[in-house]
Amino acid sequence: MLMKSSLKLPLFACALLCATSMFAQSSAPELPYDTNSTFLKWPEHIYMGEPAGVAHNSKGHIFVYTRTGSVNLSTGSSRTFVRGGARLFEFDQTGKFVREIGQDLYGFVFAENVRVDPQDNIWVVDSGSSMVVKFDPEGRVAMTFGRKPEAVSVPAIPPESQPEPPPGSAPPFGGRGPGAGALGDNFNRPGDVAWDAAGNIFVADGHGLAGNARVAKFDKDGRFVKTWGSRGSGNGQFNTPHSIAVDAKGNVYVADRGNKRIQVFDNDGNFKTEYTGIGAPLAMCVTPGTHQYLYASNSNESGNLENGEIYKLELDGTVVGKFGMAGKGPKEFGTVHALDCRSENEIYVGELLNWRIQRVTLHPGGGGKGSR
């Protein structure tokens, strides 16, 4: 409860906010933990790259969506096309390699995340193609969201020198603020996907100044329901909404990385509260089960080895504890980009900097003797 802040009380709230922020990062209890980074058995000649996403299904199979190889530009006669650069792999519950899914897929350009829904469908989020692709458990494409841009400009046109839109076209951003995106599944560098119990689909969309800054909601049949958010720091605004999770009641948690907070919305996108003091959340997951917890990673920027701890929170924002720090050694984390909550005490952690997936086992009752 300490993490909740009310922005209606200006100065006092600010002081409280700063205090709680420092308090959380310094005083959250250390959760003892171990890691195993060799449980995935990669075949010869397959290399992981940056594991942007990791997820498990009901059988305990593990899916890894990874940045691998390089993105290819191919030159048509009048336009330049982009493909390649991301792959999706499946391992069984013992870590044995099962298969690759989506070989040479049109929408696989730059891996962002993979999640598995309660029906064991595999959902991939790709920020290079700006697409979300749903595979059925057999690995066939079942539904697609968004559309990969047909072609790209080479060299890139900086945003400030974009050509003027043709006369009569709609105002930029649909008149709904920068980053608000289009009405529908026209994403711009999406980051993550989540579902509520009814199967409604929530997409965090997207990254940085060039991308959108919103959440889009679809029903289980893929029909657009609504979108909320634009670029900014107010309630319901985002600065790189990078990760998203939904609890059993349908509340929506958005890791608002650039604003260093987690925003909580009801199922219709109404702002409820925000949690601060947990750093800049890059990855997030909600545990299954009756008592749910929220894990959020204050991942280090790829240019430094600062921060890097992962917080365990009650759904109301109370910090239960934290574990880990940035680094390249065992039990350290190098820009955690993927969190998958297998259970309250078993978490898969995908690290961009270390090209590594660690299976974290927490020992909450383990004498509280600190993690390192």
């Binding site: 290079g128 945003p159 649909g174």
Partner: protein, 356 residues
Amino acid sequence: MRRFLQFLCFTIGILSCARIVSAQAQIPPRPSAYATAPDISYTSVPNFIKLPTGLYLGEGIGVASNSKGHVFVYTRSGRTRLFEFDQTGEYLREIGEGLYAFEMAHIVRTDAQDNIWVVDEGSNMVIEFNPQGRVTMTLGRKPEAGPGWAYTTPPPRTPPPPAQPYVFNRPTDITWDPAGDIFISDGYGNSRVIKYDKNGKFIKSVGSFGTAPLQFNTPHTIASDAQGNIYVGDRGNRRIQILDSDLNLKKIIDNVGAPWAVCITRGPHQYLYSSNSNPDNNDSRFVPVSGEIYKMELDGTVLGKFGKPGKLLGEFSTVHEIDCRSENELLISEITSWRVQKIVLHPSGGASKGSR
């Protein structure tokens, strides 16, 4: 490593910029034929196209059948590829692996002799394969690559160079008259229809960019009837222009929305199908005004309609090509759902009890 990351960032950057420059479209009204066209009952055959493990369709851009009922799918997969399936949808083979002209798939059609023709709007080429899958004719030419050439993409809205007889600018579709003459809609860059003889020799072309009769705004799809009349889906102008085989204008149909895909059935009584597809940018505001396919007599009399936009089986996500070898068994490819559906129409099937 650093260079690798820089390249990735660079690539992601240009993808983002490409997204920014896409303009938002205006919302048109429902086509005027929508209100009065009766609903045609239909079903979608589940999992008709069966892909082997490890093969995936990308944007289901082109679909065509031959006289045996074999199905050809020209797809924007990771790379552009052409697949052949048998009449039950079982996978047979890939054609043209790594072909020089496969850059950005647009359309596949089969001619009366079962030759397979693909139109590629990335390489600006039209390729004929014989039924065995060997290249037998090429139209257009992919420009030569050279140092620095890859970095000269013209800025958006650069006017296209003057149209030339044997050079396309993002061509879109192909059809033939009974004499075997070849008609090509060209295209996104140019705004014209070109006629070649059956040996690929230029005869004439008609059209320029505009809204007047015999002008075009993205001539996107083209089909011919048994009399040699040419039906041009003038998508941006939301009309079908009907030309005779000498490319003189005969008639304009303008009440069935934006024709993304037209198809004319074979047999003694021919019908015309035209899809008022929902746009490929997934703009939800178009859902109430698009997504249906019209069935017409060749004179434009609307007989019925079917379909609506959506991602489920039996719904359509930007229909891009229709194959209508049979009047009531259609093959329909969609851009944004990466699939080909086999649609069975039930025109007399117990009135209009809904579409699915």
